[in-house]
Assembly symmetry: C2
């Protein structure tokens, strides 16, 4: 009954994609690290609206984790992921083993530029190089017409867009809005790490972004003090540390200047769990 | 009478390549920095033997030159290049302006790995990153089936091959043997820098490689002392400095070990001109 084609090697992937190409299908790719939740499913729906066939990838990419990060405990639940992909009508799943993407002798890296230096890049120096390299490889292996990336990872979306532009990759990047719980918490596979108490505190992150946006709309010149107040509020609510809470140029991620398109981005710690979120400013 | 299509923008390039693709043509790319000589023409001939249509590119890539290197004085002679390409029956020429490949905001780089660290990479730290990035861009813009690279730039050939493998670029790399003057000097656009006296000395480079190869074949254990003797001979002949003269694993470019496929590579200075050459060992 299922029509989900599961491939694990480049050769099988090429055969699958070539058959779609021969039939003149427009192909959308949704790259994921698995542990699929409703946020991923919204990306798949976006992909179905953007193309004729949809292929998801599941690959927990080791090169974007630093040694002290959560690679080993990152949630893996492929059987459950497959059930969800079948139910939503995804056409293909590419779930390669690590050796398929990084065979012996692998050594070439893609290094993003200024857009990757601040915010996440400052706190996770490995991160965007690993992401850019694996995403370029997925683009070149899958050869999709479009690829869907969630706005939840806003800086990643800008890094990938810059890479596609700079390296002349032949794929259209389609952003998808952040999917949220009813209380505003952005969906993330890492939410599974939260204790009950932490989960109750977590929605304050989105509330802080909204409060900053509303307050600045009234009094734009108070930006810096508003951001400091919002950080203090987050710490008071129970967050243990705030890596950043900043207003930035929405594409370059440089510190916001009057007249720039604006995005507020935040990363903060609840116990051992690091949450990120962002929103636009009018 | 000429059938050489000259394009300078991505849009015109795409139109040209798409028309070939629609006609089912197999496409070969020959990337060059112009100042074409018989060595380049041999690459074009190799391309014609490997595909249905041949497109050369001419682009003096600024990102592969260090500030103290010869970017400004690198020979440029596009009109003469075009005459040669027409005469040999090349089908296309892509000769973009710098802004076409590096528009404002360009920031993503490709960084090769271990294969690029030693030899040329040690003496020209900018070099292979610049080469890899521009070649990847050319591959993705032109989308050829095959690309021809001369064995004269042996390490570059290995760097590009590793990049194609690592990033899953969909192009076959075809190596072409080094084209030489009757006295053995490898053809190079930089030979134009040589004075008459330097030009008379230059063939010693190939002679040194041949002498090393012949001598080691008789007595393999003497490799290191043979290399040292060959360096002394080059300095005695009139070379002013030797950046390296080494025996390496022919693919990884690591120092040669017994049992490895072997390549001897040399870079040496005649006045202000830096010459490179290489050859295989049985």
């Amino acid at each position: 009954m299922s029509s989900l084609s599961i491939v694990r090697t480049r050769a099988d992937l090429r055969a699958l994609v070539s058959s779609w190409r021969r039939d003149g299908k427009k192909i959308a790719l949704v790259p994921t690290m698995g542990a699929l939740h409703a946020g991923h499913l919204a990306l798949i729906e976006q992909a179905k609206a953007s193309a004729d066939v949809v292929i998801a990838s599941i690959f927990v990419n080791p090169t974007q984790f630093a040694p002290h990060e959560d690679l080993a405990r990152y949630p893996r639940q492929e059987a459950a992921d497959i059930v969800q992909l079948e139910a939503i009508g995804c056409d293909g799943l590419y779930a390669p083993h690590v050796e398929e993407l990084y065979p012996d002798g692998f050594q070439t890296r893609i290094v993003p530029g200024a857009v990757a230096q601040r915010l996440e890049g400052a706190f996770r120096p490995h991160f965007f190089g690993g992401v850019a390299t694996v995403v370029a490889k997925l683009f070149l292996q899958v050869d999709p017409h479009v690829a869907i990336f969630g706005e939840k990872d806003w800086q990643q979306l800008q890094v990938i867009s810059a890479m596609v532009r700079d390296l002349d990759l032949c794929v259209e990047i389609v952003p998808a809005p952040t999917h949220r719980e009813p209380d505003g918490l952005a969906l993330s596979s890492r939410n599974a790490y939260l204790s009950e108490k932490e989960r109750a505190i977590a929605p304050s992150l989105k509330q802080a972004l909204d409060w900053v946006a509303d307050t600045i709309k009234q009094a734009p010149t108070t930006l810096n003090s508003v951001l400091e107040q919002a950080k203090a509020q987050l710490l008071a609510k129970g967050f243990h540390a705030i890596d950043y809470l900043e207003a930035c140029h929405s594409e370059t991620l440089e510190p916001w200047q009057v007249g720039d398109p604006a995005r507020i981005l935040v990363a903060a710690w609840l116990g051992k769990t690091r949450l990120i979120d962002n929103r636009g400013l009018d």
